[in-house]
Symmetry: D2
Subunit: 298 residues, 4 copies
């Protein structure tokens, strides 16, 4: 399959079940909502090393937030509701409670809930006050610039982590421009985040390694410098591979994101050094979700 | 003491001994060096909740980095060399190894060292190669866009955390504009970071709380909404207080940063709603470092 | 009328008939489309001094542009189709033709047209080629990074310039934060631009002056420093006034923009120093369009 | 001559005498100083079409500006002092006088002066007041957010326009990444601007054309799509050429900027698609200044 001169490999991305939640951070303006959200979603690229995978989903106009102020929505993904709840509390108390003018609200409804402000309220040292906003229980916690408003809890849901596609290019510069185009295009898609730095990852991994203690290591088959030394999946005319990893609330959300991203890559057109688009999988045995590129791009 | 119409309180900031290290992240361009650095220094506002306090120190032109590429320097502060080393390894492997085109180098010389690439190298699964760059041992780890270069280790040193000053204003908007001016002015000062979101914090705390489990809680004396209910340090004409917390390699670095920041606040001039500049301390019994505002501003 | 604690004056903005056109600039990515658009819409705050009023309307995803690449839409307003056409050609040839990877297309259909690429094509020195894209005549002009694609012409239409509202605050910082909130909220509204620097203007003017040669001068009635010296419209508790000027394709577009902007100002709430929202007019005798604030906010 | 794998052509850039001035714009914070400076320096890529070539030179910390506020320095280049003065007045009155919280000061001392605030002051309609700041005559002009301070005049000097170098690459993406690296590195060099959008230009021109009315047209020798049709200077392995044009106060300033920019391009290293660095000239007969690449890079 060839889209606008770029070959789409006959392969699939393999993704996993996760739990996800959304919170809405508001502030005096978008700039400060973003400061809080960036701090809160930092060091959150991979659940194994960071405890959570997180990212900014979208900017929200003032009219679309619970307190009518400019906002940012954040998605967080963990391996269980419990793990997610623990990370959420820690990150809200370190990065949102502390951030000038911020407030935080549930971004999701549902039966299964985790704490948002329930324990953070104790920071108020007894001066905190409960308040109902549109039927939602919130806490007003006195701080130096007034009050920090935090909703008591937020729902979480089953979700999908690890959707992905690979960009194979003649040079790193070309792969990077293509991935930037993809991230630019995917930025406004609801229900997904691309949790790696700038949305892109270059350290593709395989399960296991020659070292006992290390459960994952570099995927040599995709390392251009190892072409001559290993059974390589890197074609002769490719010198650089970059990956975009996508977490989404549903598999359809990931499908839409892959479609948008690969479209943007292919839109660069022939002569831009993009040789192939592929995807990362573990043979299909580990992950419950398979995203076949050619189906998605059909 | 009055500077350009703003009263400087006769008080001092109280700060603590910490350990600090610096690393230099380089990449194809500053944008991507910054992506890695932002991810790595996220969720790092307060050492108790985040395990480390971190921030971007400066942007480095290509000519001033070990590999001649555009770079960003990052400072990290922890309670001990060991704790710092653990956080450094984790954050480098999650946020720098993964980030397109990045490399990472020691940003500090000295006798006491912590691991930078020493263990991260095993991600190479046996394909990593040792390399001396200007006499420094580095590791070349094969990844999908080529190689990740990581220096074996970096030094760390004794440092100071928790330098601060407070801005007391008629309104939050005025306090925020003043703090933005301060952060803007402090941005290029070497050897310091302001670890909170956007550089500013609004949740001033005191030691202890009415809840056994909670070792710190809101400092009600600085909460404007509690003026009538507590023994308040908030003057009648002040409705909002914001704080800038500064970590530095030495007490002189913090002194220079406080001076620059307070100068920027005061430069806004009379009629801009800035009533006082103060500082946070715990009576002087906990922290080894005292920063007297009036001495610094003299 | 009071909205969320802020008084809305019983007055109206007075606006004028203008001609407007829209062009779509595309590029390899949004960053470079924006570079071209910013250059092209610079020095375009006021039609009298700059020959045109221009601004970026919106960012367009790759899927919504004529050539499937990321884009930016630009609106330009002039006093006649002819004047508009002259400015358009000059600015396209200086700022878009020159900008890496850019292309430019009509952003409006209609009977009345002005030149877009018709004359710019001669830069090709005979090597330019005509090309139909979706039935639209375009020119392919050879340049150093390949070809500059420019559509032959674009339509223009009757439009409205000079819609506005005024923010009266206790301090400039508060007025500025409020205007930033308004601009932030108005940013994505289609069919409008706010042509002044950062979207805000502080030099309100009246018709005429004491100097023969000068047709317009400062509106002393709105200058806080002249309260004691003139018949002032600045209330006692107001020390700063800022204005947001809006040009729109129709009066309804301006109405929606005023509504959104004033809502954002008022959303800041009481205690933030915003005393009144007003509007600028010339007694109603000069402009065909009157925008009554209280009707719009009802 | 080969620098880090990239061939430096044995050629020179040809540049011209111009007149230049510098002004310093200050504001409440850097963000608003930048808004004014961007508006003022927009539509200023080429002196023939825009009347002036202008750009932001640097950001200035509060401590380095005449009024102790954050600032931005702007350089403007014209064909004569008179032409420069006319553009300066127009652009200051449209883009700086109008911009919230701004002030404007001379950025250069010398015997030859042009008006800065001398005529703009009449906007004050008689309410303007003269004021000496550190011995410099300034005008205080009442506006809605207080006063606009504008220094009476600024000096101008002889300068150099049209310094340049060319980046020849396998693909546009690679040329663009290289030019972005160059601009990134050149950004902080004093006394120079790169006046084209994003600092880069892709429409290289030659003197004359087949059309009588057109004094300049595309330089077909550097158009990759015309390789087969003309006597081309584009090597077989090059598909895209981009240029960086530099204006500087002296030829040494331009030399330093070329050196820094070409260094940054070459630092990308082999395998990144950058084939050659060249320069644009007209045979050496038109411009007084010749910048030989190999001398500069020696």
């Amino acid at each position: 399959m060839i889209v606008n001169g770029t070959t789409i490999d006959n392969t699939f991305a393999e993704a996993f079940g996760m739990k996800a939640t959304r919170v809405v951070i508001t502030a005096l303006n978008h700039r400060w909502a973003r400061h809080a959200a960036q701090a809160m979603t930092g060091f959150a690229t991979s659940v194994i090393g960071c405890g959570v995978e997180a990212g900014i989903e979208n900017e929200l106009p003032a009219g679309e937030t619970p307190d009518g102020r400019p906002g940012v929505s954040v998605l967080m993904f963990g391996m269980s509701g419990k793990a997610l709840g623990k990370q959420l509390e820690k990150r809200v108390s370190q990065c949102v409670l502390t951030s000038p003018t911020s407030a935080v609200f549930a971004g999701m409804c549902g039966e299964k809930c985790i704490n948002l402000g329930r324990n953070v309220r104790f920071f108020g040292d007894g001066y905190q006050i409960s308040k109902l906003i549109d039927g939602h229980r919130c806490w007003r916690i006195p701080v130096m610039d007034g009050e920090f408003i935090a909703e008591e809890s937020t729902a979480y849901c089953s979700a999908v982590g690890g959707g992905n596609f690979l960009v194979l290019a003649e040079s790193t510069q070309q792969a990077l421009i293509a991935c930037e185009a993809a991230i630019d295009a995917m930025q406004d898609i609801p229900n997904v985040i691309m949790p790696f730095p700038g949305g892109v990852v270059r350290s593709g991994s395989k399960v296991g390694s020659i070292y006992k203690a290390l459960p994952a290591s570099t995927n040599q088959a995709f390392c251009p410098t190892l072409k001559g030394m290993t059974r390589s999946h890197v074609p002769d005319d490719v010198e650089s591979v970059l990956e975009i990893v996508i977490n989404g609330l549903t598999d359809d959300d990931i499908r839409r994101a892959i479609r948008t991203g690969v479209d943007a890559v292919c839109a660069l057109g022939a002569g831009q050094g993009i040789k192939r688009v592929s995807a990362g999988n573990y043979g299909g045995k580990l992950g419950q979700f398979h995203f076949h590129l050619r189906e998605i791009m059909a």
